[in-house]
């Protein structure tokens, strides 16, 4: 007696994100038509461009930090915690890691590990502080991480950028960027062009596939194993679903809150890697917003390790496409930002509707089981 067949479960699971995608494409099309552009041409340009190997590399490079940020946020969500502070955590972690990474001389593998560890520790400490405030002083983590974001971004990072700024232009390749002292070669992850070129063809336009992609893959696998296969992950999820039941089940809720926040922050610390590993230092004007987009990516991906992969790729695809639209002039490039926003809103609404439909289905199935047995 299988009450809910597999296909039904799967379709319930997939219906929501697909519906969200279709809805946002529809909305964007309306906006495009209203602004006098042809949606078909815009989409054609976007997909045509994305089918090129070089663009795919761009998308992967962009998706890498988004994926890590998504996992960082997802760890919090699994524990029913809103780590809105991924943004501040990754920027702070990145600048400290870049600075300390440039200070030491180590063998290659050790050096990279050192930089990653510093980033994770800084992220974990900053985020864990919010967890600590929650359990010891009853401060809601949404509010505290919002405040800590502002303190990190317009305070600490802004200050440290100037304090640690290396003299003059640094990287001759990237036009007169200023930032922290460059990290020696031994501290940088090599690019993965060998793999790509081995599989496909030579990369043009000087494109490089970031080595941080490997870190992202490790993070994803680690996240899946930790949450779904280990006892700690079970405790984490149990605490997130029902802290009272978890407590009598032997899971100390306060310790789990701090642990989850710290873990989320540690992963957030890795988000900035793709920038400091790519250009070799922390720039005075770093890419911002990855943390907030990471939250959106986690939501769209339903906190699922694979779901977040798709979500990160979709967001990265849209980001990269905006350059294409600019180039071909098919439509205003800003349409993609709207698409991102609409997707995320449509997705959360669709998930909520799907959740209710699923609960009804399950209740009906269980009621039938009672009568049938």
């Amino acid at each position: 007696m299988k009450a809910i067949p597999l296909w039904k479960r799967a379709s319930l699971l997939l219906a929501a994100p697909v519906a969200a995608l279709i809805f946002s494409i529809l909305m964007s099309s309306i906006v495009l038509v209203l602004s006098g552009s042809s949606p078909l041409r815009a989409y054609a340009d976007m997909f045509e461009h994305a089918s090129r190997l070089e663009t795919m590399i761009d998308i992967l490079n962009r998706a890498t930090p988004l994926y890590i940020a998504g996992v960082a946020a997802a760890i919090g969500f699994r524990m029913n915690l809103f780590n809105i502070g991924v943004e501040g955590q990754y920027l702070l972690a990145a600048i400290v890691a870049a600075h300390l990474g440039a200070m030491v001389t180590l063998t290659p593998v050790l050096h990279v590990t050192f930089i990653m560890l510093v980033a994770m520790v800084v992220g974990a400490a900053y985020s864990g502080f919010a967890g600590l405030l929650k359990v010891t002083r009853g401060v809601n983590e949404v509010i505290s991480t919002i405040m800590l974001n502002a303190i990190a971004i317009s305070g600490l990072v802004a200050y440290l950028v100037r304090l640690w700024q290396a003299g003059g232009a640094i990287d001759p390749g990237s036009a007169q960027q200023v930032g922290t002292t460059p990290i020696p070669e031994s501290g940088l992850l090599p690019d993965l062009n060998v793999v790509v070129e081995g599989l496909f063809r030579e990369l043009r336009q000087g494109k490089e596939l970031t080595g941080v992609l490997l870190v992202a893959i490790l993070v994803g696998v680690g996240y899946h194993v930790l949450v779904n296969r280990t006892r700690f992950g079970f405790d984490l999820r149990a605490s997130g679903i029902n802290p009272f039941a978890a407590n009598v089940g032997g899971v100390p809720p306060k310790r789990m809150v701090v642990a989850a926040m710290a873990l989320s922050g540690a992963i957030a610390g890795l988000v900035g890697l793709s920038e400091i590993m790519h250009i070799g230092f922390f720039p005075a004007n770093p890419i911002k917003g990855l943390g907030f987009t990471g939250i959106a990516v986690a939501l769209l991906g339903r906190n699922h390790p694979l779901g977040i992969v798709f979500a990160a790729l979709i967001f990265a695809f849209l980001d990269v496409s905006s350059g294409v639209l600019q180039f071909t002039g098919a439509a205003s490039r800003e349409i993609v930002v709207i698409m991102q926003g609409v997707i995320i809103l449509a997705a959360v609404v669709a998930y909520e509707i799907a959740r209710r439909a699923r609960e009804k289905e399950e209740a009906r199935a269980a009621a039938e089981a009672m009568v049938a047995v």
Binding site: L133, R137, I146, S154, L299, E334, E352
Partner: protein, 418 residues
């Protein structure tokens, strides 16, 4: 002696303000500056406080109806764009109206997601904050770039609505007659504390924008609306115990919608104010710089009450106002000592209530600030930017348990599930 908490709110907050001014006066004497209580400091404090106040009041309407609104920032962003566009295209007042409408649309979106579809309030707020800059950027690329002087990230000059100085108290004019200037006269007496207080009061009454005046008047209006009218009682029940409202036949969804849309409208008005000449005189991408979140902070600091939100807005607007004119950094430096003394006061308060952990914690933090103050002469300018957030964190650390948010704030409510 009557307990402080038994006094009416306006009197209690006035006492807090007087205490604060006294503290500032003492500190600025030590620091050898007059910037902490000058007329211009007060003026810029008020200007900086208005967007925070409006956003905070916006948060109040939403959260009193039970919907947490961290989308205030996004709604404020919509307000800046629509405010600038409206003012440039149709004139200054229409700019304010357009800003209000733009923000209200953002609020409507948040309401649809949280109330109709039951999406988590934080999630929806994050989504609004992501969507809003996308919309303004798109609109800029479609519209601002076609206006002379505009570009994808900024607008040409935005006209303002004009201002007035309060007669008699600050020497404003009635017709052609320049009235006496009471606070101005007091301010130049160099009487300790009294002159300082007079200067600050003159500052907040001199060349006050009409929008500022409206924003300040919204404080008593909101208190009246929420605590004295049928509408207010019904809106508040949605934030405290929506099931109880539903059981009495109140359409909870409708009130939540109204609360959240008003919330967006006020955040939008705040945005329009930011783009107006009072603060910027131009639309510039990213110009809200987290002030929606500071509004949220003012709401929490003010314990979800209008007069408290005003207090929080002035407190958080103050360091921004100071920072702008503080070229040698002495005033900012003085604020460190203000923090240290404030924390010492918290320590004494905690001690009298025999809260040992709090006492030790407050003393330790106070000591750190005091040490910082006495071992340095200058302070990094970022300090002034983060001061509001530091204050909110400190307030939460010591008073989170005493704050009373609406009981059902942030909870998912579905009709008919009681």
């Amino acid at each position: 002696m009557k307990r402080l908490s038994e006094l009416p709110a306006w009197l209690r907050w006035s006492l807090y303000a007087a205490g604060g001014v006294l503290l500032l006066t003492v500190v600025q004497t030590l620091e050898g500056t007059d910037r902490l209580t000058s007329v211009t400091s007060a003026q810029s404090m008020l200007r900086w406080a208005i967007p925070i106040l409006l956003a905070g009041l916006g948060g109040l309407y939403s959260e009193r109806a039970g919907v947490v609104n961290i989308g205030l920032e996004g709604m404020m962003i919509l307000g800046t764009w629509f405010g600038a566009w409206g003012a440039i295209t149709y004139g200054a007042w229409w700019g304010i109206v357009a800003g209000i409408i733009g923000g209200a649309l953002g609020g409507l979106l948040h309401a649809v997601a949280t109330v109709t579809f039951g999406v988590d309030h934080i999630i929806s707020g994050v989504a609004v904050n992501i969507l809003a800059p996308g919309i303004t950027r798109f609109l800029s690329s479609e519209i601002l770039t076609n206006i002379p002087g505009g570009s994808i990230t900024q607008s040409p000059r935005v006209p303002g609505v004009g201002s007035a100085t309060i007669p008699f108290l600050a020497g404003g004019t009635i017709g052609n007659w320049t009235t006496p200037d009471l606070f101005g006269w007091l301010g130049t007496r160099e009487w300790f504390f009294i002159s300082d207080f007079a200067n600050l009061l003159k500052g907040v009454m001199t060349r006050v924008s009409w929008v500022t005046l409206i924003a300040v008047l919204l404080v008593p209006l909101t208190a009246w609306l929420l605590w004295r009218t049928r509408f207010g009682l019904r809106l508040r029940i949605c934030g405290e115990r929506p099931e109880a409202g539903e059981a009495q036949g109140i359409d909870v969804y409708r009130y939540k919608y109204i609360g959240v849309v008003i919330s967006g409208a006020l955040a939008g008005m705040a945005g329009a104010f930011i783009a107006s000449p009072e603060l910027s005189g131009i639309y510039l991408e990213g110009q809200t710089t987290g002030r929606g979140f500071i509004g949220l902070a003012a709401l929490i600091f003010g314990n979800w009450r209008p007069i408290g939100v005003l207090g929080g807005a002035l407190l958080f607007g103050y360091p921004f106002g100071i920072g702008l004119r503080d070229l040698d950094g002495s005033a900012s430096h003085g604020l460190i000592l203000v923090n240290a003394i404030g924390l010492a006061a918290v320590a004494i308060w905690a001690f009298t209530r025999s809260k040992r952990t709090d006492t030790v914690l407050a003393l330790a933090l106070s000591g750190i600030f005091a040490l910082w103050y006495f071992t340095t002469d200058v302070v990094p300018d970022v300090w002034i930017n983060i001061l509001p957030f530091v204050i909110v964190l400190l307030v939460l650390i010591f008073f989170a348990q005493r704050l009373r948010p609406p009981a059902a704030d942030g909870l998912r409510y579905r009709k008919g599930q009681t």
